[in-house]
């Protein structure tokens, strides 16, 4: 039984590279989060955990947190379900499969700046194609109810290819022999999916889940262009709030505190996912 060699040197370049972009910003942001820093008024005071204490009572923060969680949960769930469906579809062999696969990737390929404006236009009550096709006059981005769901829908459109392409690659890694053996044994399509495909796909699904959730929790550009966080902060996500505090009101201290808290929230969720992944891997 051969012992595994040490792989540290393979991992070193990645770790070094990442340290460059994570260590300094993290320390810098942590440092600022403990200060009251208002460059406009030349204020730079060490205030210990005052910012964090304030954050706990900050309604706008909790509102943003709720919006972000709703956004991430809904968006990721829908992406995963639809993405899995589409990946399974594309896994069959059919004519023009290559073209279709490439076309399916389009939403992910369109720059966010563009797709957000595109959707903003499509959601336009008067000139938007959605209302035109539905024959209705829904105020998609101006109604507190519809706005958040419109944002979710746009995000699902945009990020579904990411899920599809990864799950497709995952499906391709499952050796055909397993399917052939199962079919010889007389198993039907659904049991094959539940007992063979899904379990073998689970590691990829979890990786996709982690990566997508992390991205969804940090969502900024797309929603900011679409709604600006409105109406009345009903679509303001954590990143949008942090952006406004940091770069609009120039409160570098509190903005950093928000960033740290976002990081911690996402970090704890990641640790949870990692536990799941480990449990999955050891099976």
């Amino acid at each position: 039984m051969m012992e595994r060699e040490n792989g540290n040197r393979f991992v070193m370049p990645a770790v070094v590279m990442l340290s460059l972009v994570t260590i300094y910003p993290l320390l810098s942001v942590l440092y600022l989060s403990l200060h009251r820093r208002l460059p406009i008024f030349d204020v730079s005071k060490f205030t210990r955990l005052d910012n964090y204490r304030f954050l706990l009572t900050d309604d706008r923060f909790w509102n943003a947190l709720r919006n972000t969680v709703y956004f991430a949960a809904t968006s990721v769930t829908l992406e995963l379900l639809f993405g899995l469906g589409i990946a399974l579809l594309l896994n069959r062999s059919f004519r023009l499969k290559g073209v279709v696969t490439a076309l399916v990737l389009i939403p992910w390929a369109v720059p966010t700046v563009v797709s957000a404006r595109m959707w903003e236009w499509m959601y336009n009550t008067d000139f938007g194609i959605l209302n035109y096709l539905l024959g209705m006059k829904i105020n998609w981005l101006g109604s507190p109810f519809w706005a958040m769901n419109a944002a979710v829908f746009m995000d699902v459109w945009k990020t579904m290819p990411f899920v599809v392409i990864l799950l497709l690659a995952g499906l391709k890694m499952i050796p055909r022999e397993i399917y052939q053996a199962a079919r010889i044994d007389g198993a039907g399509a659904w049991p094959i999916f539940m007992k063979i495909t899904l379990p073998l796909l689970m590691p990829v699904i979890l990786v996709v889940l982690i990566l997508r959730t992390l991205d969804a929790l940090r969502i900024f550009d797309a929603v900011y262009v679409l709604t600006g966080g409105g109406p009345a902060n009903t679509t303001e996500t954590l990143s949008i709030y942090a952006y406004k505090v940091l770069f609009q009101t120039l409160q570098f201290g509190y903005g950093s505190t928000l960033s740290v808290v976002i990081f911690l929230c996402i970090g704890s969720l990641s640790i949870l996912y990692l536990r799941l992944l480990r449990a999955e891997g050891s099976r």
Partner: protein, 415 residues
């Protein structure tokens, strides 16, 4: 091989020549509408008149948020990468207080301040000193359909209630027509719109630097805006998503009777292919009885980076770009409205753009948003609250009451 070598030689001597002859200053500004060539020509003219100074102009996206972010990051770290910057009218008090802008009072000669509109001058002044020079001006206008008003024999409304009555009457008789559209998305433009109602009712945000946000006139004005949507129904709910362009599109395709927007829309409506060409009029915004119309002041100013390594050259550039002739050129080529009053009687400008003459009185009454370094924080409080009131999520009293508390806290915090 030899050609590359020679080219390299050529390049170096070029660089040496430039280096030996003078300084390069960087002019950082948001994207100029339309063709960038006129600005470059203007800068080239400056370079010819000032041998030894080269101007490099670098563009930022026109989005005011993105520019603000860029300047905040750079100026906080005392960047020397740019010398002249263009500033949104609402940032000047903030940047001045932060010590990021050079005092440019001496760029204007004695009494020259009177040559400019009072609003912008007020917005760039702090403690009697000037921290930027007004470059071009913007203010809220009332656009209306001349053909429809004529058809129903109505004159341009002077009060908001008149506007409502006219709009109700006409939209009942005409198909596919919105009464009055404006910008109600949750962004800075919303504050501009709301302030135009609030001010024209005698209300305001700050008085003697203290917040008076939950006042009676304010509540009435905000309620009036909500009523435009739900009670009189002359404004469609879609204004909650609208910024300038969507409303411009609606009016430009003939689907609205009245619109509040900035002067830029006029040139779009005058184009050959515009559906409303020749049918658009522009007037001062209405007010509430007993008060004056109060268009919100917009526009951009030129400032000098306090950390600039070439402040004198930078000041020269500002002086040039805000001079009578440069402003006239910009007005004729790019459509930027001058901040110098004299140009509104200039025969050449009036001949090319007769519309400009009618803007004079409007620009004279344009009011700047609260001129305080706290403004950016205040507007971040106002935007969601105004939006909540207009969307019907909160009553105007509740929204303004909440805004009042939040602004009190901001202003009350010890520095």
């Amino acid at each position: 091989m030899i050609s590359i070598f020679l080219c390299g030689l050529g390049c170096t001597s070029d660089r040496e020549q430039k280096g030996a002859s003078g300084t390069t200053i960087v002019f950082k500004h948001g994207k100029i509408a339309g063709n960038p060539k006129p600005i470059r020509d203007l800068l080239d003219r400056f370079e010819r008149e000032n041998p030894g100074i080269t101007v490099k102009d670098e563009t930022l996206p026109a989005s005011t948020d993105e520019q603000h972010q860029f300047y905040a990051i750079n100026l906080d770290s005392q960047s020397t990468d740019f010398d002249v910057l263009s500033l949104d009218v609402i940032w000047v008090p903030e940047f001045a207080r932060a010590g990021w802008l050079r005092d440019v009072t001496r760029v204007m000669t004695e009494g020259e301040q009177n040559a400019f509109f009072p609003g912008p001058v007020q917005a760039v002044t702090q403690d009697g000193r000037l921290f930027a020079v007004p470059w071009y001006i913007d203010a809220g206008l009332l656009y209306y359909r001349t053909d429809l008003l004529k058809k129903y024999n109505r004159s341009v409304p002077k009060t908001w209630q008149e506007l409502v009555n006219i709009a109700q009457e006409i939209t009942e008789r005409e198909r596919n027509l919105y009464g009055f559209i404006w910008q109600g998305k949750q962004y800075e433009g919303l504050v501009c719109n709301v302030l135009e109602f609030i001010w024209s009712n005698g209300g305001g945000v700050l008085e003697n630097s203290r917040p008076v946000i939950a006042s009676r006139p304010n509540i009435e004005a905000l309620q009036f805006m909500r009523d435009l949507i739900v009670k009189w129904r002359i404004t469609p709910p879609l204004v909650l998503t609208a910024i300038e362009e969507p409303t411009r599109h609606i009016f430009g395709s003939g689907r609205a009777l009245f619109m509040r927007n900035w002067p830029y829309a006029w040139s779009v409506f005058s184009r050959e292919d515009s559906a409303v060409r020749g049918k658009v009029g522009v007037a001062q915004l209405p007010s509430f009885p007993g008060h004056v119309s109060a268009p919100t002041l917009g526009g951009w100013q030129l400032g000098v980076n306090r950390f600039s390594l070439h402040p004198e050259e930078a000041e020269k550039l500002i002086r040039f770009l805000t001079s009578l002739s440069a402003q006239k050129t910009l007005a004729l080529t790019v459509g930027y409205k001058p901040t110098r009053k004299a140009l509104y009687k200039d025969p050449d400008l009036l001949r090319e753009q007769p519309f400009v003459g009618s803007l004079y009185s409007i620009f004279m009454t344009a009011r700047p948003r609260p001129v305080t370094p706290y403004y950016m924080m205040i507007t971040q409080v106002l935007q969601p609250e105004f939006s909540a009131a207009i969307a019907g999520i909160k009553t105007p009293e509740a929204a303004l009451g909440s805004a009042q508390k939040q602004v009190e806290r901001i202003l009350g915090e010890e520095l």
